[in-house]
Amino acid sequence: MIGDALLSRLVRILVHPATVLAGLALTIALGQILGQSFWVTLATRAAILALAALSLGFVLGQGGLVGFGHAAPFGLGAYAVLIAGELGVREILVLLPAAFAAAALFAAATGALALRTRGVYFIMITLAFAQMAYFVFAGVSALGGDDGMSIAGKATFLGAKFLRWDVNTAWLALGLLTATFLFLSRVQHARFGRVLAAARDAEERVAALGWSVYRVRLVAWILAAGLAGLAGALMAEQTGFVSPALMNWHRSGELIVMVVLGGARKLSGAIVGAVVVVLVEEFLGGVTEYWKLGLGVLILAVVLTRAVDLSALLRRTAR
């Protein structure tokens, strides 16, 4: 039927990454014009979590590495901003690389061990490392311990107080998300991404060809963590506050939910999933404190209907 085809096409356009990114941009722009700061805040939060989910989606979808500790590099990026602030560094062009590096270093050390395991052991060991990071920061009273700590002032851009305005933080988050998406889309089709994906489906084969699967995975793992660190730094900038809760295992789980909900095989799935979760949390969360029940139902629907992702589910329901 023509109606079905039309609806199916509509769904496809709706979950297209360009649509989602444009939607976020429009929300930020309209929020600023109409003076709705809440819209800007919501879009920023969505963009930041989408960046974190995207980085996880890359290793999970392309690499087949189900890491259950992605909140750790995310939180480390935020703590890098906090610590740099305590040391008097507030320049965003220093903060972002520092956040990337902190998260990447953590991933290099923990990944070198974790990537020697497979399957459920990998899930558990990544969770364990993330929990270790959580408790380490919860224990450092100089950084606020369990309660966390406020960041010393807003960041500057080349010395200018650029990020004093929330809308600039929003554009920065959306810009980084877009750039990361375009970058990872290139990586996916470049050698590195192809070897990574091939190793996901036929590890022994790829190794027998002469590719060092372990090393390729480790590099992907470090890259993904670094990008999550960027997201964490942005989160710290947006909220002006950093606490160990950023590294809570709930957040690691939430990031996986975003990736799976949007569809792990496509890079854009993580972005779609993150935006949907943020919207569900915001609007269902406003109606009932049991909003997670709604999210649970959505996940169940995706899994039980054997739709691999949200767009497939929507297309199926549309039919």
Partner: protein, 251 residues
Amino acid sequence: MIGPILVLDDLVKSYGALKVTDHVTLDVGAHEIHALIGPNGAGKSTLVGEIAGTVAPDAGRVVFAGEDVTAFDPARRARRGLARVFQTSRVVPGFTALDNCMLAAAVTDGSAYRFLAAMAGEKRTAERARAALDRVGLADRADVLAGSLAHGEKRALELAMGLVQEPRLLLLDEPMAGTGRTETERLTELLASLEGEVAMLIVEHDMATVFRLARRITVLISGAVAITGSPDEIRADPTVRAAYLGGEVAR
């Protein structure tokens, strides 16, 4: 005279009380086609694993191209020029035949750490991959997903992936397993045409293939080398006939 490409020096491997590799010593000449045969459970697969690097021997050495590679992982051995063709097809199902072949060709064309340039645009690698597909008769199947290829085609693709690595030794683990008669004959002729170009160690049940290709044959029984010799010597050996070949070689 060039030294042997592969030397197995007194390899031992046990699983518990079971000795699956029992002091195996074996060499494959620089351009030799060497066959490894033996009844089921003789330890052929374990030996293949020990050569490829997926199984660590308890004792003994694997020497490849004059270098002790016993401690090398499979990837490192592959980069030294050891190409493995698996017993059951292990092609990447979601990649096209051409992409599988390019994945194999790319190893000798630079590193994995290229992040921006699309792999599909790598002309030299693609040309080599197409040439290899052409050689095994898969040229017109290049754009088919490897997972959708027929069984025989997958075997041919495995072989193309082995060839495109430009190896010094092709390690073929039952390359004819599950292929039809005509397909087997075609692949056998293809392998025969490669003689002098690349050394081969071929583990195979199909005796017609073994006696057509091999210059020397090693018979493995209960993990130990029973005899190594020319096809004629193997045919004539009474213990081999009794233990394994039976009437098969008598025809």
